[in-house]
């Protein structure tokens, strides 16, 4: 497979945290390698034990999986462990201009940790991800409408609509009481939404697999450098991951790379370019 060339990517160092039931490390590392970043996969326990674990990394990725079996609630046990053992370091990483990407369980975790939506300093959980309206896990590809006006650095070079696999049971976003949702909408901190065939945000199943209001599939912080989403960009790394790749090839529309790769590339490009 050809690499997706990004100038300066070789200077980008990404940390992928693994272990405790997380399970998307191989594809996440492969994606970051493909775009030319230097990637380190490290067990959470070792990262917690090492005070300098985050030093030198511009991107920290919280990957998908079932941290601690998603027991109690998805991401809850992992988020607690991070809060009690690594919370300050993560805040410093973000404060120093570092990027954080949370995918699926990683999104659930950083939401429950309080890194997102990140409207104020410190760690405060103000939204949550709860059980899908149609109870239980569901695996299907979804369309995402991308908000080009969002500050999110990961999504800004994406086409208006991309497709990604979605596979989770707790992806419905809920807000604390009050005006928070409107604030997030107004500030374009909702970079991706589940979309229907016409590319419009939708709350209808199955285009929206979890019943998230407004089709919200991901959130970013006001800096655009902390981003989490439920669908899996790292699982659309190759053109052949797409369920219709043979038809796309025959129609001459097969992309050179999986479109999910471009989302990770966006993060690397933001670091390499600035």
């Amino acid at each position: 497979m050809n690499a997706l060339k990004i100038d300066g990517a070789a200077d980008v160092r990404a940390l992928v945290l693994t272990g405790y039931g997380l399970n998307c490390e191989a594809e996440t590392c492969a994606a970051l390698q493909t775009v030319g970043a230097r990637v380190t996969a490290r067990h959470v326990a070792d990262a917690i034990a090492d005070a300098d674990a985050l030093a030198g990394f511009q991107l920290v990725v919280f990957i998908g999986g079932f941290s601690f079996g998603d027991h109690i609630a998805s991401g809850r046990v992992f988020a607690n462990r991070l809060r009690f053992k690594m919370g300050e370091r993560l805040l410093r990483h973000v404060g120093d201009g570092g990027l954080v990407l949370g995918i699926c369980n990683g999104f659930q975790t950083i939401v429950k940790l309080g890194l997102l939506p990140g409207l104020e300093p410190g760690l405060a959980q103000r939204v949550s991800l709860v059980m899908n309206d149609r109870l239980g896990y569901w695996d299907a590809w979804v369309r995402l409408a991308v908000d080009r006006a969002s500050p999110c650095v990961f999504t800004r070079a994406l086409p208006p609509v991309i497709e990604l696999p979605s596979r989770h049971g707790e992806g419905k976003l809920v807000f604390e009481e009050g005006p928070l949702r409107q604030v997030l909408e107004d500030r374009h901190l909702i970079p991706v939404r589940y979309a229907d065939e016409a590319g419009a945000a939708t709350e209808r199943w199955p285009d929206n697999p979890d019943g998230s209001p407004g089709g919200i599939a991901g959130l970013c912080d006001p800096s655009g450098r902390v981003f989490g989403l439920m669908p899996h960009p790292e699982a659309y790394l190759y053109p052949e991951n797409h369920p219709r790749w043979i038809a796309q090839r025959e129609a001459g529309t097969l992309p050179e790379h999986g479109l999910g790769l471009h989302l990770l590339a966006g993060g690397v490009r933001a670091i390499a370019g600035g």
């Binding site: 497979m1 693994t18 272990g19 405790y20 039931g21 997380l22 399970n23 998307c24 191989a26 594809e27 590392c29 492969a30 390698q33 067990h43 326990a45 998908g64 079932f66 601690f68 079996g69 998603d70 027991h71 109690i72 609630a73 998805s74 046990v77 607690n80 462990r81 009690f84 429950k112 959980q125 939204v127 949550s128 709860v130 059980m131 899908n132 309206d133 149609r134 109870l135 239980g136 896990y137 569901w138 695996d139 299907a140 596979r167 049971g169 707790e170 809920v174 807000f175 604390e176 790292e234 699982a235 790394l237 190759y238 052949e240 991951n241 369920p243 219709r244 043979i246 038809a247 025959e250």
Partner: protein, 1061 residues
């Protein structure tokens, strides 16, 4: 079990703290360092969804309680902290566990009316469902971890979880019915209380503080009746011959065996572990009446025999050069074949039938995580790649009377799916293949097949990964979960029929997250070379895992008192044979032990040295120095008496349907009397349980994790048609692919098991080839599930069932040799009968053949979806009158002769020609004609392509049929003749394709056309001017996809514990 009190909360959501000192603990015995028992306090935490937010579990539960109409329903998570913490600490733990946005929690209890929905009136019922004492509670383990993180110290004690359902507006009888619906009493307990709740609750603390004892069994003095009593009452499943052999052995030794020795022998000699039926010499009288002896037994003659013949042929033609295709077969936990310069492929398929009958969720979950461990424990370990599953159930819409003790097939089906879904998803392993088959005879025992493909690096830490290198002196280390009473007698239980006394403790509950952490740990330890061998603790527990690995060095010596327990009170024999899950046994060189234990500590994986491997020729186990087991390995593994068996082909009479009834369905006359008759058959067939889409269940399984999928389980324009075979990359950034497919045809076995076996191998091979597999790199697994084939009073037709097995093995070997496909691993499950309430239900003999194929570049993969209007449609391979055991026969209630026979030589030549044409780029899409025949294959292609298929039987198919045996259109379209591939090609390729495949039975069917007026697919099949089928894809889809896929509520979890992300 302890009873505690909490105050009924009103305005203040607090509770009365209840602390109790544990009683005197007599375990472990004084010789061993005793864990200090601290003072444990118990706190009850209750957490509910914040009022105003939807309670998804309540919604789902409401739908499950069909027929009951509660006026209100809410749920609460309950955590019983039985830990050494104080009241303020309990509050802090509650805060850490409760979602500040979405939930509200209390220490003690929330008010009963908390969150009452509008319209809920009166005092509610509170139904609390939790696990029975000793049942694995993995959520409880995670809560304890969270409490430790929150409080910043390690804690003693345990956490128990439960769910409370608050139900308004139900009568007492309805509430009791709800309690029955929502729990499985084998593993769960339910407490139903009317508000206001009594101020007490129980903690399901398990275990008893009594001393470990070893009993001696007075075997030498026992007569035959006593021997059989000892076997039956002890659930040993040993026959009289075997009991006598053990008696003789100990008489020679001049002593009686201990209870642990007898248990150890029973596990090791079980049908599950020793495959006695496949090893026995058989005197076989074939259908022609000729009698001969299968001297070396079925396994050596047919299974291993097939593989040896294929291997020899490969050597003879020099195909594999210096790198043999077969790397490791039959002797390890899973088969291993060569794949690339860097990796081997590992594949194993298991069955977990009996436990799934008792607790479908736990039994099936254990099936999938158990087979994962088989691959993890092959050689020095492998990286798990993808799962497969297949289930045979009773009819899901069965509405008759079930024998007492049997669960309804629908409930079994739901539970089995959920168990494998949770086990696979939480382990981070996608599924590739899945099938379901339904037949009333599977109501007694469901068949639950679970399999796993893994990728094994050719070398790791400088050593060949496929070989274990255990040496005497290496340390025996138990890794993973702790030992409890769960799963005791699993191996022997699977070797007996299901009856009213089937043991509760035979059911294990899996804990996928513990196992995932073990798997990750093993990958690290393997790369560092920290161990020299490993195997999983499955059937038979330590007795089997240590007993088997001991053969590598010639002995082992372990101290059972060192094994970590879930709770006190287990006897040494129970520790030895418990099948508590998530455990592996490692052999660790002494100079690596510290590094291994340190890594395990950092990864929060429990690792415990139990003893060492020796070369004494003996398996020895002690309890703190006192002897428990001292057995010669040779007697343990080779002492099983080989009892010759008799097989005689003597099928029961099976009168075919009268000619008039057959003609009424298949005859020409019906086409005029009932216009659209074939179309009706097709539409009705697509809605049948065996044929209809199970996508609504399949999409609960992860398809995509690892990001390697290429041809997915569901394909087509709407991704709602099951693929012919699946393709995935084996490693990232590499082009090589793994192709998976299977064949399973129990209904042909009703006519002839030889035909069944050929059809299974043929279909699995054909499917893999359709997707693009190399024809010279196919390997297969055999899974036999049989009703008891040993003649006895209970099984008067045992000789015929064994003859069916012999013929099946003959067909299997013939097909594998013809296609050049070695059998690399397999499993037999031989007692699939239920004897309940005077009713005996036996499964039909069932063979599953699973094929694993390879392709050099996944970008050459094909699927069944027609690609472009104008392309031509062909069928390759002859169609004959093969409707015996067909889906059409079952649909129309006919008994027909003529299961598909497979001309193996012709099929092998045809496939070679097809693969060459495919590799030359002449084929654009390919699909098998299988169950339901050509008609169903065409329906799949129509739905997948959303294009027209305009076909005419006169174009060639009718001309292919021999004139002296004409077929009617119904026969042509629904015959299940094996060996056929439906394919499409560009018009320009037709000439070359016909040139290559014409001699192998390629005939034109018609062409691919533009979509219909509705923009979707359509299927038209004519015979000249006569329309036989004229139907839109939308219409086909209406029948093929159950309503659950379109919109109404999805299937529901039976228990809150099963709701997973």
């Amino acid at each position: 079990m302890r009873k505690l009190r909490f105050s009924q909360p009103g305005a203040r959501l607090t509770a009365e703290w209840s602390c109790a000192k544990q009683g005197p603990v007599a375990f472990p015995p004084a010789e061993h360092p005793r864990e200090k028992v601290p003072e444990l306090c118990t706190y009850r935490l209750e957490i509910a969804v914040r009022p105003g937010l939807g309670d998804a579990l309540a919604t789902a539960t409401g739908a499950q309680l069909a027929g009951m109409r509660p006026t209100g329903l809410r749920t609460r998570k309950v955590y019983l902290l039985d830990l050494d913490i104080g009241p303020d600490e309990a509050e802090r733990v509650l805060a850490a566990l409760t979602d500040p946005v979405a939930e509200v929690g209390a220490v003690g209890a929330l008010p009963d009316q908390f969150g009452a929905p509008a319209g809920a009136a009166g005092e509610p019922w509170l139904l609390t469902i939790g696990f029975r004492p000793g049942v694995t509670d993995s959520v409880g383990t995670s809560v304890k971890r969270a409490a430790e993180d929150c409080l910043g110290r390690s804690l003693r004690g345990q956490v128990y979880t439960a769910t409370t359902y608050v139900l308004w507006g139900l009568e007492a009888a309805e509430a009791e019915r709800a309690a029955r619906e929502l729990h499985n009493p084998l593993i769960e307990r339910a407490a139903l209380e009317r508000s206001p709740r009594p101020a007490e609750f129980t903690v399901p603390r398990a275990g008893a503080g009594h001393d470990a004892t070893v009993a001696v069994v007075a075997l030498r003095a026992a007569d035959d009746a006593a021997l059989m009593r000892i076997s039956t009452q002890g659930l040993l499943a040993l026959t009289l011959t075997e009991m006598r052999a053990i008696q003789r052995h100990f008489a020679d030794l001049g002593r009686d065996p201990t209870d642990a020795e007898l248990e150890c022998l029973a596990q090791t000699w079980s049908e599950h572990c020793k495959h006695k039926i496949f090893a026995a010499p058989i005197e076989y009288t074939d259908p022609a009446g000729a009698t001969r002896t299968v001297e070396r037994g079925l396994f050596r003659t047919y299974i291993r025999g097939a593989t040896e013949a294929v291997a020899a042929a490969r050597v003879a033609d020099g195909r594999d050069g210096a790198a043999p295709f077969l790397v490791s077969v039959f002797h390890d936990n899973a088969g291993v074949v060569r794949f690339s310069d860097d990796d081997h492929l590992v594949y194993k398929v298991e069955t977990h039938n009996s436990p799934s009958a008792l607790d479908p969720y736990g039994g099936a979950m254990t099936g999938i995580v158990g087979v994962n461990r088989d691959s993890l424990g092959t050689g020095l370990g492998a990286d798990l790649l993808t799962n497969v599953w297949g289930y045979c159930f009773g009819e899901p819409d069965f509405d008759g009377q079930l024998p007492p003790g049997l669960m309804h097939p629908r409930r079994i089906r739901d539970g089995v799916h959920r168990g494998v879904i949770d086990g696979g998803n939480q382990s981070g392993i996608p599924y590739s293949r899945g099938f379901e088959l339904f037949d009333a005879r599977y109501a007694g025992k469901p068949l639950v097949y679970c399999g796993t493909v893994a990728v094994m690096p050719v070398r790791s830490a400088g050593r060949p990964t496929a070989d274990k290198v255990v040496r005497a002196g290496d340390v025996v280390v138990m890794l993973g979960g702790r030992i409890g009473k769960d799963g005791i007698h699993g191996a022997t239980f699977s070797s007996v029929e299901l009856d009213e006394s089937s043991p509760v403790q035979a059911v294990q509950i899996g804990d996928p997250i513990t196992q995932k952490m073990v798997a990750d740990f093993l990958a690290e330890a393997r790369a560092l070379g920290l161990y020299s061998g490993l195997t999983d603790n499955g059937a038979g527990g330590l007795s089997s895992s240590v007993g088997e690995m001991a053969q590598l060095t010639g002995g082992a010596d372990i101290d059972l008192a060192l094994a970590p327990l879930k709770y006190p009170g287990l006897m040494p024999w129970e520790v030895l044979i418990s099948e508590a899950q998530e455990r592996m046994t490692l052999a660790v060189p002494k100079d690596k032990l510290d590094a291994l234990l340190e890594l395990a500590r950092r990864r929060e994986v429990e690792a415990t040295p139990l003893g060492e491997f020796t070369s004494t020729g003996r398996l020895r186990a002690t309890w703190a120095g006192k002897p428990v087991v001292d057995l010669e390995l040779e007697f343990l593994h080779e002492g099983t008496p080989r009892v010759p068996l008799r097989a005689r082909w003597s099928p029961p009479a099976r009168p075919d349907s009268p000619a008039a009834a057959v003609a009424a369905v298949l005859g020409e006359a019906r086409l005029t009397s009932e216009p659209g008759a074939i179309e009706h058959d097709l539409l009705d067939m697509l809605a049948r349980p065996n044929m209809t889409s199970n996508e609504h269940l399949a999409r609960r399984y992860d398809h995509e994790v690892k990001g390697l999928s290429v041809v997915k389980p569901w394909v087509g324009a709407r991704q709602d048609v099951p693929s012919t075979a699946t393709v995935m990359r084996a490693r990232h950034l590499r082009p090589e692919g793994v192709v998976l497919a299977e064949g399973v045809h129990p209904h042909y076995g009703d006519l002839d098991t030889d035909a069944m076996a050929r059809a299974c191998v043929d279909e699995a091979v054909r499917r893999a080839l359709c997707a693009g597999a190399r024809i010279d790199r196919l390997a297969a697994l055999d899974n036999f599930c049989w009703p008891d084939p040993v003649q006895s009073d209970k099984t008067p037709d045992g000789e015929h069932k064994l003859a069916q097995l012999v013929r099946c093995c003959e067909g299997l070997r013939a097909a594998c040799e013809a296609f050049g496909v070695p059998l690399i691993s397999g499993k037999d499950s031989m007692k699939n009968d239920a004897h309940l309430g005077g009713v005996k239900i036996s499964i039909p003999p069932t063979l599953l053949v699973s094929v694993i194929g390879q392709m050099p570049d996944v970008r050459r993969a094909l699927d069944l979806t027609p690609i472009a209007a104008g392309d031509l449609v062909f069928v390759l391979g002859p169609t004959g009158r093969h409707l015996g055991g067909s889906e059409l026969a079952r649909l129309r209630g006919l008994v027909l002769p003529g299961a598909p026979t497979t001309d193996l030589g012709a099929a092998a030549a045809r496939y070679a020609a097809f693969a060459a044409a495919r590799d030359a780029g002449l084929v654009r899409s390919a699909h098998v004609a299988g169950r339901g025949g050509l008609a169903v294959a065409l329906a799949h292609m129509t739905m997948a392509g959303e294009l027209g298929l305009d076909l005419d039987l006169d174009d060639g198919l009718l001309r292919q049929v021999p004139e002296d045996m004409p077929l009617t259109p119904a026969e042509l379209l629904f015959s299940e003749s094996t060996g056929r591939i439906v394919l499409t090609c560009r018009p320009a390729a037709a000439g070359a394709l016909t040139g290559r495949l014409g001699p192998h039975g390629l005939v034109a069917l018609g062409r691919v056309a533009e979509p219909g007026a509705d923009g979707g697919g359509w299927l038209r099949v004519r015979r000249g001017a006569q329309a036989l089928i004229e139907v839109t894809g939308a219409r086909l889809r209406e029948r093929f996809r159950p309503a659950a896929v379109h919109g109404p509520p999805a299937p529901l979890p039976a228990r809150a514990q099963e709701v997973r992300r």
